[in-house]
């Protein structure tokens, strides 16, 4: 009995009378702890840890994705910038070509007009010159008639005209 172990020499650990009691309560305790742990505590803590691991993995993945998206956005930005630059260059070139073409047409047109005006002017100068020489011949004939009249020489009109014309043609001689 338990009281027997009260002697100073006795070890209560070796009091076999208490063994059934200890073993019974130990088994009850272990079963209760096992139930609490396996039904409630361990699944709960396991799910918390799994959830945390999942969250961390998901966050790292999300960060990876955002980083890739940022890189892609930067590449797209640079590409857009290059495209815009190329397009601007092309538009400038096109405009320059258009203007050049317009300019060429205008210059050609102006040249043609100048040529036409020049021809007209030359024709009119020629006309003036012709009418001027006709007038000189007239004046020369009349003057010759008058001179001959003053000197009392009767001369035929036709002869005078012919002489003046001949003189004028070889005027320079």
């Amino acid at each position: 009995m338990a009281a027997d172990a009260n002697d100073a020499v006795g070890m209560p650990q070796l009091d076999f009378a208490t063994f059934p009691n200890q073993i019974f309560w130990l088994v009850v305790t272990l079963v209760v702890i096992y139930m609490i742990l396996s039904r409630v505590a361990l699944p709960r803590i396991g799910s918390i840890l799994a959830e945390r691991a999942g969250t961390i993995t998901a966050d790292i993945d999300a960060a990876e994705t955002y980083k890739r998206q940022a890189t892609e956005a930067e590449a797209a930005y640079h590409k857009a910038l290059d495209d815009a630059r190329a397009q601007a260059h092309r538009i400038v070139e096109e405009m320059r070509a258009d203007i050049q073409a317009d300019l060429d047409v205008a210059i050609a047109k102006a040249d043609a007009e100048i040529a036409a005006r020049t021809a007209e002017s030359e024709r009119r100068i020629a006309e003036i010159r012709d009418s001027a020489s006709a007038a000189v011949a007239e004046v020369a004939r009349d003057t010759a008639q008058e001179i001959l009249t003053v000197f009392g020489v009767e001369a035929e009109q036709k002869a005078i005209a012919d002489t003046v014309s001949a003189r004028m043609k070889g005027g320079a001689a």
Partner: protein
């Protein structure tokens, strides 16, 4: 109590007595004793730490949740590292053993507490449960090949029968050392603490010397309480490994 008697009438073993809580001397199988009380408190402590502590299910753990998570991860990794990945299915059983031994040891350090794990009856049941489970499991999983555990292939042929005999003896000594190690460590520490406390009462003016000794011893006992729980659990994992992978 021993201290009250004065002199050197120290009875360090009295603290280990199993006594009925509600009077009488008779300790039957179902009597509610101090064993019942301290085992119930162990269940309560385990529940507080493992269930109540983690009830927040916080993604960023609170302090109490961290304790539960650390205990969980610690034992889980121990099984994985020692017994291998297929040992993980025994996690709830090993966790039960660890939590019981750890909290029984720690609660026993409370003054006037009864240390359930200081009794060979308790630790022997724990060790035998491990021993029988592991042995049955070894034969169920490996059949007769489990006996190769005792046949050291790497040794010279002539030595193998001798080694087999030694291995066999050491195998059957396992539950004895497994249980006496824990009960002995607990009993010795508590008994020594009691003896020093008795000295403090007897020495009068020089009482502070044993009090300092008890304080130092108490810190050591705290360490021993945790380490013995750890040792008990890791040995269980080692034995489990032998059942799962009986090849050297």
């Amino acid at each position: 109590m021993a201290e009250a008697n004065g002199g050197l009438n120290i009875r360090p073993m009295d603290q280990f007595r199993v006594e009925p809580l509600f009077g009488g001397d008779y300790v039957g199988m179902f009597t509610i004793t101090n064993v019942t009380l301290w085992m119930a408190l162990t269940v309560l402590a385990v529940t507080l730490i493992m269930v109540v502590g983690a009830r927040g299910r916080a993604l960023v753990p609170t302090r109490s949740q961290s304790v539960a998570e650390v205990a969980y991860s610690f034992i889980y990794r121990m099984i994985e590292d020692v017994a291998g990945r297929d040992g993980v299915r025994f996690f709830p059983y090993i966790m039960t053993l660890f939590m019981f031994v750890l909290f029984a040891n720690l609660l026993g350090l409370i003054p006037w507490a009864f240390t359930t794990t200081s009794h060979i009856a308790v630790t022997a049941v724990l060790a035998l449960a491990v021993f029988i489970t592991v042995t049955v499991l070894g034969f169920v999983l490996n059949g007769a090949a489990f006996l190769r555990l005792f046949w050291v292939d790497s040794a010279p042929l002539a030595l193998r029968p001798i080694l087999a005999l030694i291995e066999l003896i050491s195998y059957f000594v396992r539950p004895v050392s497994h249980s006496i190690r824990l009960a002995g460590a607990m009993m010795a520490g508590h008994a020594v603490a009691k003896v020093f406390a008795g000295f403090a009462a007897a020495l009068g003016a020089a009482f502070f010397i044993p009090v300092l000794a008890v304080t130092a011893l108490y810190a050591l006992e705290l360490l021993v309480a945790v380490i013995q729980a750890y040792v008990f659990t890791i040995l269980t994992c080692v034995y489990l490994k032998d059942a799962l992978h009986p090849h050297h």
